[in-house]
Structure formats: C-alpha cells, structure tokens
C-alpha cells in the first residue's frame, strides 16, 4: 500500500498523526513526516542536551546531529511507540562523544561525591517560590556526573519509564534505579543546602 505524503497538510492536521504513523511514513521516505517528528521531539531533545552539555551552541549542534543520525537509523527502530526514548538514546551518545572530545583538552574532572541521605531535609516548597530557584537547580544539576544526570533527567524531566531509560543508557534495569536514586539524593543535598542557608 502506498503511504500518502504529509506534504501540503495544514499544521493542525499534522498534529493528529501518532508517532507510530509518522515513523512509518518517514521510513517510507516522507520527508515531511520526519519534519513533524522533529517539530514534536526537538524541544525535549534540545533541553536534554542543554542540561548534559551545559553549552547552548553545543546543544544546538548536538540536536542537529541527533536528528541526522535518527534519520539514518529510522529502519532500525524496534519499538515505534518508544520514539522519545530511542531519540534520547541517540542524544545521549552524541553528548558523550562531544564531552569525550572536550575532555581531551581539559583538566581531569573533580571526583563527584557519593550522595548521603538527607535525614532532616527542610520542606522544599520555599524553593518553588524562590526567584533564584533556576540558578540553584542549575548548580545542583552541574554537581551530578553526566550519566547519572542523564538518567535522572530522562525520568523526572522527560517522563521516560525505567525500561526506556535502561534501553537508552544501555544499562541493566537495576542500575537505572540505583543511579536515579543516587542522583536524586545528591540533588536534594544541594537543594536542601540552599534552603538551609536561606533559613539562617
């Protein structure tokens, strides 16, 4: 059966197509279907890369590289229903390749402390009201090792399930759970430290 192209459809009509349908069309060579996939998924991929690379230009380039690679690998996607996780897996590889290249020219990174349990963490509501919350969050994320940060962001910011994260990271499920747990504890130590300072 020949699949009709999305070329010429109005934007609101394009929104009706499921990811699976778009993938099927893109695999059949419909360039416009791939464009719709880009429009839907690029903002999330760009934010994920921005959080991993912490460099706007590198995140823009990484987003482009992710979608170019995704286009080349379209026929290899095994679970079309998990398009977002598949794209994040590619983005994760792109970001780590970039960081590896960058690290060759840089001093070795400082060792990242293992998290400790926050026994009497203050209530977090004040953070949500703070004008500095974005800066504090950014600093807290920066303290996480890249892979741990990637797993945490996939789960909390982008809502991927543990199985999808395991596929994207190439980790066993238990490792995903452990890393996200540790990332969360580390994040909380940083955020709680800010709240403690504010309470003084």
């Amino acid at each position: 059966m020949r699949i009709a192209s999305l070329q010429g459809e109005v934007p609101s009509a394009r929104d009706r197509h499921s990811d699976e349908e778009l993938l099927s069309r893109a695999c059949a060579g419909d360039a416009e279907a791939f464009r719709v996939i880009f429009d839907r998924q690029a903002p999330g991929v760009r934010r994920f890369l921005g959080d991993l690379l912490r460099d706007d230009a590198a995140a823009d380039e990484g987003t482009q590289e992710t979608f170019v690679r995704a286009h080349q690998r379209l026929p290899t996607i095994e679970e079309p229903g998990k398009l977002q996780g598949w794209l994040f897996g590619i983005a994760r590889m792109v970001s780590f390749e970039h960081l590896r290249r960058k690290r060759r020219d840089a001093l070795p990174a400082a060792p990242v402390d293992e998290p400790v349990q926050v026994d009497r963490a203050p209530s977090p509501e004040a953070l949500l009201l703070s004008a500095e919350s974005d800066r504090v969050l950014d600093g807290a994320l920066a303290h996480l090792a890249e892979e741990r940060r990637a797993a945490l962001l996939m789960r909390i910011d982008h809502g991927l399930g543990y199985g999808e994260i395991a596929s994207a990271m190439g980790w066993p499920l238990q490792k995903v759970k452990n890393e996200i747990h540790r990332a969360r504890l580390q994040l909380r130590v940083s955020l709680a430290g800010y709240l403690d300072e504010g309470a003084r």
């Binding site: 690029a42 903002p43 706007d56 230009a57 979608f67 170019v68 286009h71 209530s123 919350s133 747990h181």
Partner: protein, 215 residues
C-alpha cells in the same frame, strides 16, 4: 505504619498512577508525615525541572535538512593538508618542550627547592623556538581555513551562517584568553597551543559543514 513504596510515590508525583491508586496513595500521604515529606520533594523536583522554558528549535531544521540532502562526504581539500601539517608541528613542539623541561628527580620540597623548580620550568631556547614554530603553523592553518569559510559563507543559509559566526567568535575569544596569559612558561605556552587546536577544530567543522551544505 506501613509506608508507600518509593516508586509508587514517584509515579504519583509524575502523574503515572491510575486515578483509584492515586487517591489511595494521596490518602495515605495525608496521614503519614514521612510519605508526605517524600512526596513534596518529588513534586518539587519535577516542578523545578519541567517549568523551565523550552529553547527554540525551529531554526535548527535548516542545518538538518541540508545534511539530509547532502550526506557527509570526505573531500580531499587543500585545507586538510594545512591543518594536518599544523597539528604535526604542534605535536612535535609539545614533545620537544616536554623533553627539554622534564623535571629533575624528586627532592625534599623546601621553599628554595620549589623556587628553583619553578625557574627550571622556564622555557629552554630550543623548546621556545619549537613552540613558536608550532604557533606560527597553527596561525597559517587558521588563515587557510578562515579564507575557505569566507569563500563559502555567502552561499549559506543566513541563519546557519550566523550560528557558525557565533561558534567561531566564541572559539577565537577562548584562544585570546589563553594567549593573554601566555608567558615564558612551558605549561602556559602549551595551553595556548591547545587553544589553537580548539579554534582549528571549530574552523574545520564549520568549513566541512559549509561544504556539505554547498557541495
């Protein structure tokens, strides 16, 4: 009191539970300070992360479309030879500089010994000459690549050209910073070479992408 498993609290915070189960977990949290506290952190973390504005991405499509139209090629351009020569010269200079400034065997670290060691790391004339040559080669290679980019730029999509201009400006600024602190010290001079290497890599990528966008 039996607490709700952590993964269920997380699922509640991420709106992944069924309505019935969500109501049960909410009811438990209302009566259990420990679960309520955990839930408030999970919700705060999610809110903090997800409420950040999304970056614009529409402008990135032009570059992707260009690369899909013209898949990556590896043409043998003249500029590749210049870059290769500069990199080889730099590697040789670093080797010379490293060998000629190799530290003496470790001795007790008195203030006087530390001062002497610092004086020894000042550049040997031959190492200095090698570093000067490598820097000059890098400068020549950069000129070739800059000229190549200037030739390709008018044919580029304006938005793409603007992004690449920004990339090069940033790389040039980083190089300027490392040169500003350079002195007759091997380590600082080698950092300058690293700066040149980074600038050349950015230039090479930009030229390569420009060629692919305009075969």
């Amino acid at each position: 009191m039996t607490h709700v498993p952590a993964d269920e609290l997380e699922s509640l915070a991420l709106d992944e539970l069924s309505r019935d189960r969500a109501a049960q977990v909410e009811a438990h949290a209302a009566a259990c300070p420990q679960c309520a506290h955990e839930l408030s952190w999970l919700r705060a973390e999610r809110t903090l992360l997800t409420r950040r504005p999304l970056a614009q991405t529409a402008h990135l499509w032009a570059g992707i479309a260009a690369r899909l139209r013209h898949p990556r090629r590896r043409p043998h351009r003249a500029w590749r030879i210049s870059v290769g020569a500069a990199v080889a010269a730099a590697a040789a200079a670093v080797l010379v500089a490293t060998v000629r400034t190799r530290p003496e065997p470790a001795a007790p670290q008195t203030p006087q010994a530390t001062r002497q060691q610092r004086q020894r790391s000042a550049i040997d004339p031959k190492a200095l000459a090698a570093l000067d040559r490598a820097e000059a080669d890098y400068r020549d290679a950069a000129k070739v690549l800059e000229a190549e980019y200037a030739r390709l730029r008018p044919r580029l999509d304006p938005e793409m050209a603007r992004r690449w201009d920004e990339t090069l400006t940033r790389a040039r600024a980083q190089l300027g910073e490392s040169r500003a602190v350079a002195a007759d010290d091997v380590n600082v001079r080698m950092r300058v070479l690293d700066g040149y290497a980074g600038y050349l890599r950015s230039l090479r990528d930009v030229v390569q992408e420009s060629e692919e966008a305009n075969p």
